[in-house]
């Protein structure tokens, strides 16, 4: 009985938060700020946005954990779509949100031998190089083009989330020549089956080439790229799901580092945006981990998909409206 009440309360809270974020009134409020005149002098209400940001990123942190996605992928489209901050600063903050999440999780995953340094190193070399290129291109392109591309990417992520399958331990008959030469292999203990699972990978070259695109998009849009890393590591290269998820999380600490430097050097860092976001996401993640026990993962996953769909459409709409096309 107590569990049922807790479950209902948890779901009610998450649904309420989600409803607030999805509310058209919220969207209209942000539009109003977009269109408002920039105050010539000091704005006594300046503190409201960091406070709202803290609250929204707190909710985002909960949803990210429950929905099994990184904070960065929710952060950029939602904050970029509904807050008055320019997309340059949102992407910089988004990278730092993803980077801090990866840095916080990375040491534990490496020590537990769930994240594989040997698997991550060649992947990271390609992804981080391309993240630099992506960040440079993203900062050089006009904002509406980046906004439009971001919207398209988010809608693509929704499609991946709807269609991508997972394989707990993919069948890899033979390791390919490159992964054998680099000794990308390992053993991990699976407590549910009480087995030691030997893993190896194949299709290393096509997998590495895919990270050219993933790294580029991570840098260009300031997104964490877990949504793309995991399917490639798991389904294409054949790493077990646990190893793929953990290595992907650790990988973000390297990929996002390279792009974060480009944004930092370019001056895309406003502490009043970055720090409340980081605190909000981290506190939300702590609460999210506790709510995991009572929340229904399928419902949350669908909620994340709907939020991303809405945020993706909003990004497309913002990009098109800058070009003079008003769709909605």
């Amino acid at each position: 009985m107590q569990g049922t009440i807790k479950e209902k309360a948890g779901m009610l809270f998450v649904s309420l938060m989600c409803a607030i974020m999805l509310s058209p009134a919220w969207a209209l409020a942000s539009e109003a700020v977009d269109m408002a005149q920039i105050p010539a002098a000091g704005d006594p209400g300046w503190w409201k946005w960091p406070v709202i940001l803290l609250f929204v990123t707190f909710v985002m942190g909960i949803i990210a954990v429950l929905g099994g996605v990184g904070g960065g992928v929710l952060f950029v489209p939602i904050i970029g779509g509904f807050f008055p901050f320019h997309l340059d600063f949102v992407r910089g903050a988004g990278l730092l949100v993803a980077l801090c999440g990866a840095l916080a999780a990375g040491p534990g995953l490496l020590k537990a031998n769930l994240a594989s340094l040997r698997l991550a190193m060649p992947v990271a070399l390609i992804a981080s190089t391309m993240a630099i290129v992506g960040a440079m291109v993203g900062l050089a392109l006009p904002t509406h083009i980046v906004q439009l591309s971001l919207g398209g990417t988010i809608l693509g992520i929704v499609a991946i989330m709807l269609t991508a399958k997972k394989s707990t331990v993919p069948d890899v008959p033979h390791a390919d020549a490159l992964s054998s030469a680099l000794r990308i292999t390992g053993v991990f203990y699976e407590p549910t089956t009480k087995e030691e699972i030997n893993w190896k990978i194949h299709r290393t070259i096509p997998g590495l080439l895919t990270f050219i695109i993933i790294g580029f998009m991570a840098g260009m849009f300031g997104l964490g790229a877990g949504w793309a890393n995991v399917p490639v590591l798991n389904l294409m290269m054949g790493a077990p799901l646990k190893i793929s998820v953990a290595t992907s999380k650790f990988l973000l600490s390297i990929t996002d580092t390279s792009a974060a430097w480009i944004y930092l050097n370019k001056g895309c860092l406003i502490p009043m945006i970055v720090v409340p976001s980081l605190i909000g996401i981290m506190l939300g993640s702590f609460v999210g981990v506790r709510l995991l026990k009572v929340a229904k993962p399928t419902f949350i996953r669908w909620m994340v998909i709907v939020i991303l769909l809405f945020a993706g459409l909003k990004a497309v709409q913002k990009g098109l409206s800058t070009m003079g096309y008003n769709l909605f």
Binding site: D43, H86, P107, L125, I132, R183, V187, Y189, T257, N265
Partner: protein, 146 residues
């Protein structure tokens, strides 16, 4: 479970240990520097009540605006020029971000000698290449703009 096969490699543990220290140092410093900023212990370059004037601008326009209104430098405050402004609350917050973004370079540099010593040359060269790429990104030499 205690089987040696399931344990992380030496370089992986070394990497994890440095990453962990850097992460804790960066996050702790971020809380401290932000507190110094919002509690007005250190004055900011951009007054907090005016920050909303600037955060909706593209980054180039923002840099031009704060340079014109506050800094009056000959060049825009990009790259590592924030180091000159560490006495100000807002720019002091760049320091923990730089630590968080820099710890991975240190991790790679530390594991490289061990990789060479164990004859793991391919991974050692990859570690060097990654450290070089990240250092290049950090250097500020790769500059772009709208």
């Amino acid at each position: 479970m205690s089987n040696k096969n399931t344990q992380a490699t030496e370089e992986q543990l070394q990497y994890a240990a440095i990453l962990e220290k850097g992460m804790y140092a960066g996050l702790a410093l971020m809380v401290i520097t932000f507190a110094l900023y919002v509690l007005r212990v250190l004055p900011p370059i951009v007054p907090r009540s005016e920050i909303s004037t600037y955060w909706s601008m593209p980054v180039h326009d923002y840099l031009v605006a704060i340079n014109t209104n506050f800094l009056h430098w000959e060049t825009l405050p990009t790259g590592w020029s924030w180091m000159k402004l560490l006495g100000y609350g807002d720019f002091l917050n760049f320091l923990p971000v730089a630590i968080l973004a820099g710890v991975t370079i240190l991790c790679y540099m530390v594991i490289t000698p061990g990789l060479f010593a164990r004859g793991d040359k391919a991974m050692a060269f990859m570690a060097i290449a990654e450290a070089v790429i990240l250092t290049l990104a950090a250097s500020g030499l790769l500059s772009v703009g709208h």
